[in-house]
Symmetry: C2
Subunit: 338 residues, 2 copies
């Protein structure tokens, strides 16, 4: 539906609520296996949160119904109802066309292709909606209310199972020609595999810096006699162990942080970007940040980007979604056109 039509359909209720400064917005974080929702008042204050598992659920219509039910629960908890909801924004784990509100593709877990998720959300909720890639949502969260507040140029690096970047240039998210800017998980740096990458395969950088790559490196070094953690330790357990000076864990941390430092250095050269915010379960670990900073310090004295942990942590995406929903509530027809 063209934006001017969407605008007119939702405008009456919006205007009467807005004139009173009343109402709520909802921010949604759609993960691979979980769904989180935050309800905020119009000042951006979170008044209630809700989450549920989406394991084995991938149908977008079902996800939208779950969001509707979650928002209703939160509104009821706040002594309110759908009539007071003014906008909703969601971060989805996939390539997203924010102009058209379409999730173009997600990973195998969800298996979405060309899902008009904004329209589905608007139909379910009866308010203007906005949808974006989840890493971009997290970058927006850090920009609006986190450690990158007011920073004109920065890169948010989400490091979990995979590695992705949300890029803010001149104060705005840069999404690229085909909505896939920030696909740094495939970056080729010294030590990374240069083997051709097939569809659905992890990228060369992810294979070293991502959670599964870190676990695989640990397993390759592991032996019963030398290891202080089991063979199936998680990336964060391994990094914890590295902080206790375990040699095997330090070797794993060493490779991951060196490789991450190379990637940050390359991005910094390209974009002249002074700040990198690390997020995601692996990226938030202090051992990784410390080791990465130490390597960058030595690489090139002229290129010294600041590398910090996300201050919003696991709430970066949800915060970004709430911020975007507030923007949508205030100017429903302007969003997504940046």
């Amino acid at each position: 539906m063209p934006d001017h039509q969407r605008g007119s359909q939702i405008s009456n209720r919006q205007h009467s609520l807005e004139s009173q400064g009343q109402g709520f917005v909802a921010g949604v974080d759609i993960g691979g296996t979980s769904l989180r929702i935050a309800l905020s008042d119009m000042t951006g204050k979170i008044v209630a949160e809700w989450s549920t598992s989406t394991a084995d659920i991938s149908d977008p219509h079902e996800i939208v119904r779950m969001i509707g039910s979650g928002v209703d629960t939160l509104l009821a908890k706040s002594g309110s109802s759908r009539a007071e909801l003014r906008a909703i924004a969601a971060g989805a784990p996939g390539i997203t066309d924010t102009d058209k509100g379409i999730v173009l593709a997600t990973s195998y877990l969800m298996g979405w292709t060309d899902v008009p998720f904004r329209d589905l959300l608007e139909a379910e909720m009866g308010v203007p909606a906005f949808i974006d890639n989840d890493v971009n949502m997290a970058a927006l969260g850090e920009h609006a209310a986190g450690i990158a507040q007011g920073v004109k140029n920065f890169v948010f690096l989400a490091i979990g199972t995979g590695v992705g970047a949300g890029i803010v240039l001149n104060g705005e998210l840069f999404r690229g020609e085909g909505w896939i800017a920030g696909e740094v998980g495939y970056m080729l740096v010294p030590g990374a595999s240069v083997a051709p990458v097939g569809d659905g395969q992890p990228g060369a950088l992810e294979e070293i810096v991502g959670g599964e790559g870190i676990q695989a490196h640990w397993r390759s070094l592991w032996s019963e006699n030398s290891a202080t953690l089991p063979i199936d330790a998680t990336a964060t357990q391994i990094f914890d162990c590295a902080l206790r000076h375990d040699p095997l864990a330090r070797a794993v941390l060493g490779l991951a942080s060196r490789t991450l430092a190379y990637a940050i250095y390359n991005i910094s050269l390209m974009l002249n970007c002074p700040l990198f915010v690390l997020g995601g379960s692996v990226g938030l670990h202090p051992a990784l940040g410390d080791a990465t900073r130490a390597i960058l310090l030595k690489q090139n004295e002229r290129v010294q980007p600041q590398v910090v942990a996300s201050s919003l942590g696991t709430k970066a995406q949800l915060t970004g979604a709430v911020c975007r929903a507030l923007e949508v509530a205030k100017a429903p027809a302007l969003i997504g056109k940046e």
Copy 2:
């Protein structure tokens, strides 16, 4: 001098000329050892060109005087005089603050630091001036009148002795927080040296893909019996020889093109950039473009940026400078504020 003052000082003559659609602009390409000037009419048609050597001359005042004398020569050749010059724009081989018109730093050849070159040019020429980095000027040239005409997102890669990038995002040059976006000559890719880089040293990528790096690789493989070119062959001679299937030359081309392909791939991932334009004496060689494209084809079927040679060739910078001078002549106070 603040822009509104600059604007008012030059406005009278500008307006009377502009109302008649008459006059000329000059584009200047300041190289490490040469100076080239093109005089254009107000439709962008080059009416005369001039060049001279600047070997052993690095004083910016002297360079500005040479530019003045060159422009006068061209104006006289066109049966005109300084009174009909309306604007001038120059590309300088260094980091340039386009807002303030200051060349912040150049390579050791020129040795400039914080040179207010725009003010010097305006004082000498008596017309509004604009100054930018030379690679950015070349990118602008390709965008305005070359192979990237109308392309919203592309990267111009200048490969000569060194390697640098001019980045156009959403139709505008992206210069970065400290005016040094596009410093890709230092990029760390597989096979590149990860040794720390000191001030003034060539970057890891330049050491392989730049002209001197290519010559050094040739020298390292050279022996009197096996080589069909002398030990001091240039990069373009070596690439010519590779086209004739010389094994040594092909090995040198192979490493350079593989490394360039990795760099292009990395930039493309980051910026979701569909077009790369190769320029500079080394970058323009067809053997490098062909070999690089062949490697990219195999790397990742989802990431397939187009790689083409600059259509303006050695005139890309001069063309960009003329385009910018035309913009300045039409809206002197607006330029450099993008």
